[in-house]
């Protein structure tokens, strides 16, 4: 079929410094393995009794052994045996593991459980004990040791293969294939194998490193390769006996073992990471604010943002700006909605207002002020206290935004305990009252429970109750109901509205749902691609002028949408940002608007990648 194939990941990986280093190391290792014995075999075997047991010198960098043979040459020659034995053992582990894993997969359930339990038990024993056990059976020879090390690794790969196969077999695309009548063998060939093999190879590379070290250990103990043959472990064994005289005799082979082991381990890492590099962070604004922010007049805006720009480090180290000059003001007690699709920058803007962007974000603004506190620099201790008491946050997924290992009570009380120096008992009483006010049933019992013991709606109420523990001037709610059912959404928003009325806080509500925002907020701010497109009075939404706003309103069906006509479609953003947006029947060409979303999850509105 025609089409452009993406550049293979392997090539891209090789282009990184680490990938290139690993490739060069592998090439060198292969060359020494292939030609070492032929080129240096003589030097390694030539006895020179006059020069026996010498230390390191120019002629003999690693010194000489009991019979005056050059140790450097012997280390290089031993490469072949060491590497081949390690690869052989790895092959036994991988093939044996694959066989056990596959056989287990086709066995009846009871037998499969038995095999898995046995693999579990074997896995709980360290490889060295298994290898020692097997070497008793197969004898203290090179082949025996290879079998021993190989079989000791079988459980590892049996587990890996069955885990990988199970994870692929559970995917929707395998279900789809089954539904389409794909025969089991075809499914295995087309879907299972291509998705299981790459991770298997990655692990095999890493395991080769383990095999090499295991083998060295066995030979070192005298249970592997026997004289006159020699591998690195055996050379190390001989060198260690002379360690009081000449350390180089032991260090030489040791170096070879470590370097090769690290090389193979790195190979595994490079293959699995695909050479992904971590982005470099932008500079941080210097110095913490000093002193206390001036007292703020009650009618001054709670949030005052002018020309906010936020950039993040991209994969290649460059900075990508994702919020391009946003202005935003929130008055006291005002409920402002921030609406946009994924990549619109609404969450980033909110996190910048709260001063909670991670160290990889670079924030610049003409003004970024929360009640007199400049949020572009780290706050002073006094400002931290004020922020702790005057700002509260509610996030999309109430399960992951509550700490799974702390009780609900502890998470509610800690803010007042830390910032208002409330005593434990008083804070607890207050938490109880807060939970009751957001209508969490059996509040006293909930205080002692962990978050996973509550339902989704209840967890979000707990987050709202956190706001009732203090005297918030601003509640930032980032998609607070997106993970919830509509009926629960209504109840949670009711609790949020109640909390706002009670505390007199302003609310900044971030959502992708313009209807929801229009029904809850005093003012709606529409964002697209890091810019504010339009501000809207929800009671007069018909007056919306910007084509994107109008498109966003029209493209979502509601209970009155004309069913006989196709839905209007929002045009993907044109480069000049002036294209008409209402175009019934038009197609979605890019499926995604604005600048590149954060890597990994394009086109998904759930779980924003906001760094925290």
């Amino acid at each position: 079929m025609p089409g452009t194939r993406p550049r293979p990941a392997l090539l891209r990986t090789l282009a990184t410094p680490r990938g290139a280093a690993v490739a060069a190391g592998l090439l060198l290792l292969a060359l020494v393995t292939a030609f070492g014995p032929a080129l240096l075999g003589d030097a390694a075997d030539t006895r020179d009794l006059a020069a026996r047991q010498q230390g390191a010198s120019l002629a003999h960098p690693f010194g000489t052994d009991d019979l005056g043979r050059d140790l450097l040459a012997r280390v290089l020659v031993a490469t072949r045996l060491s590497v081949l034995l390690a690869l052989g053992a790895t092959a036994i582990s991988v093939v044996g593991g694959a066989v056990v894993g596959i056989v287990a997969a086709v066995l009846p359930a009871a037998l499969r459980r038995a095999v898995n339990a046995l693999v579990d038990i074997l896995l709980s024993f360290p490889w060295l004990l298994l290898a020692l056990f097997f070497s008793v059976i197969w004898g203290t020879t090179a082949t025996g040791a290879m079998l021993a090390v190989g079989f000791a690794g079988v459980p590892v790969f049996a587990r890996l293969v069955s885990t990988l196969a199970a994870s692929v077999a559970g995917t929707e695309y395998v279900h789809a294939a089954r539904m389409l009548g794909s025969a089991p063998l075809r499914t295995a060939r087309v879907h299972l194998l291509p998705n299981v093999l790459p991770p298997l190879l990655v692990n095999a590379a890493a395991h080769a490193s383990v095999s090499l070290l295991s083998f060295a250990a066995l030979s070192f103990l005298g249970l592997g390769v026997q004289a006159p043959a020699y591998d690195w472990g055996r050379l190390l064994n001989e060198g260690a006996r002379r360690i009081y005289v000449d350390p180089m005799a032991a260090v030489g082979p040791g170096l070879a073992i470590v370097l090769t082991g690290v090389l193979l381990a790195l190979l595994g890492e490079v293959l699995s990471e695909g050479g992904r590099r971590r982005g470099r962070a932008g500079g941080r604004p210097p110095r913490a604010g000093t002193g206390v922010a001036p007292a703020v007049a009650d009618d001054a805006p709670v949030v005052d943002v002018r020309d906010l720009r936020v950039a993040f480090a991209a994969e290649d180290g460059s900075l990508v700006e994702r919020v391009h000059g946003v202005d935003l003001r929130v008055a006291p007690r005002e409920v402002v909605g921030l609406v946009g699709e994924s990549g619109s920058g609404k969450s980033v803007t909110a996190m910048a207002v709260a001063g909670l962007l991670g160290p990889d974000a670079r924030v610049r603004a003409e003004r970024l002020v929360f009640r007199g506190i400049d949020m572009t620099r780290p706050p002073s201790p006094a400002e931290r206290t004020r922020l702790g008491l005057e700002q509260t946050m509610i996030f999309q997924d109430p399960l992951s935004s509550l700490n799974p290992s702390l009780t609900v009570g502890r998470q509610l009380t800690e803010v007042t305990e830390v910032h208002a120096r409330t005593l434990r008992a008083a804070a607890r009483a207050r938490a109880l009252a807060a939970l009751e006010r957001v209508r969490v049933p059996e509040a006293a019992r909930r205080l002692r429970q962990l978050p996973h013991e509550l339902s989704g709606g209840m967890r979000q109420r707990v987050m709202i109750a956190t706001g009732l523990m203090v005297t918030p001037r601003l509640i930032v709610a980032d998609e607070p109901t997106t993970a919830l059912d509509v009926t629960v959404q209504r109840q949670v928003l009711g609790a949020l509205r109640g909390a706002q009325r009670e505390t007199g806080a302003a609310i900044l509500l971030i959502s992708h749902d313009i209807a929801l925002v229009s029904g809850f907020c005093d003012r709606v701010v529409v964002m697209r691609s890091g810019r504010v497109v339009e501000e809207l009075d929800p009671r007069r939404w018909q007056d919306a002028t910007h084509p994107y706003t109008r498109g966003l309103i029209a493209c979502v069906p509601d209970m009155t949408t004309d069913r006989t006509r196709p839905l209007p479609v929002v045009e993907p953003e044109a480069p000049d940002d002036a294209a008409p947006a209402l175009d019934p029947g038009a197609t979605d060409r890019s499926g995604r608007t604005g600048p590149p979303a954060r890597p990994g999850r394009p086109g998904r509105p759930t779980r924003k990648g906001v760094p925290a």
Partner: protein, 262 residues
């Protein structure tokens, strides 16, 4: 055109004290050539019911009929007939094999027709199908990762169409998409339904979306259908309190949310 009928379908997971009934004796009929909307919240059993309809889940009790043919059992005939019911999944990311070019994924759908086809025929068919869902056929060799969420969902729809289904089951196919992309996919489903005279079971938690595409509606809760009937009638004059609660909870553009209890 075929009718899809679920008769007394029950799906139970687990054994003994831990057993949970996901779907509880559900009767549901999708009239030939119409779209039947199935609404419910998380845990209502609507996705399990969809999986039972296409044979990915074996019902504990009850039968699934396609045009009066029982397609529930493991018999060869049932399995073959069942392939005329196809499903589009919720998450377009995991519904496509990340290492298989999308053209081959679509071609996989041709398996279900049971016909032996030449390579040229297959490619022509894939080109036509991708074109039908407005994906550039020249990109058939690209991997799924090169496409946006909305595009991927249209590719999975093309794969389902390749099977030449009589019934299409769409399980929350827009809930992982941005709202502006949702409209495109909904329009596509409506067009296809009309052009190919498909029988569609459309599952969603979003009442407004279901209303827009459906002729009939069933409302599910805790494994049971609490209300069903023509979409206009059910949504204009719901009989069940749960349906009323659902309706009341939907945000409407420009109207303050009803946050107080009724």
């Amino acid at each position: 055109m075929s009718e899809l009928e679920l008769r007394g379908v029950t799906v139970r997971y687990g054994h003994g004290a831990r057993a949970q009934t996901a779907v509880d004796a559900v009767d549901l009929t999708v009239r030939p050539g119409t779209t039947h909307g199935l609404v419910g919240e998380s845990g209502s059993g609507k996705s399990t019911l969809a999986r039972a309809a296409v044979g990915l889940v074996r019902p504990t009790a009850g039968q699934v009929f396609l045009g009066r043919v029982d397609v529930t059992g493991p018999s060869r005939y049932a399995r073959r007939t069942r392939r005329r019911v196809q499903m589009v999944f919720q998450d377009p990311m995991s519904a496509l094999d990340p290492r298989l070019p999308v053209g081959l994924s679509v071609a996989e759908g041709l398996l279900a027709t049971g016909r032996r086809t030449s390579r040229a025929d297959r490619e022509a068919r894939v080109t036509a199908l991708l074109d039908r869902v407005q994906i550039d056929p020249r990109r058939a060799g690209d991997l799924p990762g090169a496409f946006s969420g909305g595009q991927r969902q249209r590719i999975t729809i093309a794969r389902a169409l390749a099977a030449e289904p009589e019934v299409l089951v769409a399980d929350e196919i827009t809930s992982a998409l941005d709202v502006s992309v949702q409209g495109v996919v909904l329009n596509l489903i409506r067009d296809l339904q009309a052009d190919l005279a498909l029988t569609v079971l459309f599952i969603s938690h979003n009442l407004a979306v279901v209303r827009y595409v459906s002729d009939d509606v069933s409302v599910m809760r805790a494994g049971r259908v609490v209300e069903h009937g023509p979409a206009e009638r059910v949504l204009a004059d719901p009989a069940d309190p749960y349906t009323r609660e659902l309706l009341r909870s939907i945000p409407v553009m420009g109207q303050p949310l009803v946050l107080a209890d009724a």
